[in-house]
């Protein structure tokens, strides 16, 4: 009985300490104040495990159609390049100021400075992950849920474009992402 009382007392103390910490305002919330290593690991693990579970039943369409590069490229340029960069641009105010830093999508996957949870060969899982992140966004990271205003078709086109992005030079990027008057890529 005494042991149960002590355990309950400790649990209550722990809860009270936690709530007290929340209300104390001591936690540094600024994006220029980096997480501790252990907090970063915990948040990244939470994020990646959640995305993996949530995206595992998404079926990946054929992304080989070159038209996808045109519609996806134009959308990438409008919505993503400010944070995730483009050929010839190594940083922006947003890419420098956001924390966690948005991945540089002009770099190939093995050059990103964050963990990729799936093996190098699990290509479909990587595509599902990108689709899910673009569609649903990521809480408290600055990544919006584009699925609120964009169709799945448009989001898959962005995923298709992102696969080619690390290979593109500035001229290729400009042509693929520019919206001409006819905008043949924009089959929305």
């Amino acid at each position: 009985m005494k042991a149960i009382k002590i355990t309950l007392g400790l649990i209550l103390l722990l809860i009270a300490t936690g709530v007290g910490f929340l209300y104390s305002g001591l936690y540094p919330m600024g994006a220029d104040d980096r997480h501790w290593g252990v907090s970063y690991w915990a948040l990244e693990t939470l994020r990646e495990r959640s995305i993996k579970r949530a995206s595992e039943n998404i079926s990946v369409p054929d992304l080989g159609d070159s038209d996808l590069l045109l519609s996806g490229g134009a959308d990438y340029n409008d919505m993503c390049a400010g944070c995730h960069l483009q050929p010839g641009v190594s940083s922006t105010d947003l890419s420098l100021g956001l924390y966690p830093a948005p991945p540089d999508l002009t770099a190939s996957a093995d050059k990103h400075d964050h963990a990729h949870p799936f093996g190098e060969h699990d290509w479909d899982a990587a595509l599902r992950r990108q689709f899910w992140i673009i569609k649903h966004g990521i809480k408290a990271s600055g990544m919006p849920a584009w699925g609120e205003t964009h169709t799945d078709e448009r989001i898959w086109a962005m995923v298709a474009f992102i696969q080619k992005l690390p290979e593109l030079n500035e001229m290729q990027y400009q042509i693929l992402t520019a919206r001409g008057e006819s905008d043949q890529g924009g089959h929305h």
């Binding site: 409008d78 205003t149 400009q174 919206r179 001409g180 006819s182």
Partner: protein, 84 residues
């Protein structure tokens, strides 16, 4: 009553503008045109037609060229009408 209606209307207005914030038509009006000159000057033999990136660029630039020809034709027609 007014205190309730004003914020509701303000929120409705905010959401109605944010949901259409990225309509392709709106963005297209502010967009830059593709700069195809250098690409179109490249000899066709040097281009890999099986590469999706090259195919997409060719398509974009052909459409752009067509648009330019049409707009030049239209401008010439308008000039002719103006002179007569």
């Amino acid at each position: 009553m007014l205190i309730r209606i004003v914020p509701t209307l303000a929120l409705a207005l905010l959401f109605s503008t944010t949901t259409s914030a990225h309509s392709p038509d709106k963005v297209r009006k502010q967009a830059k045109k593709p700069q195809c000159e250098a690409f179109l000057k490249k000899p066709k033999e040097e281009m890999d037609a099986s590469d999706p990136v090259t195919r997409a660029m060719m398509k974009k630039c052909e459409v752009e060229q067509q648009d330019q020809t049409e707009s030049k034709g239209n401008a010439a027609l308008e000039n002719d009408e103006h002179h007569h």
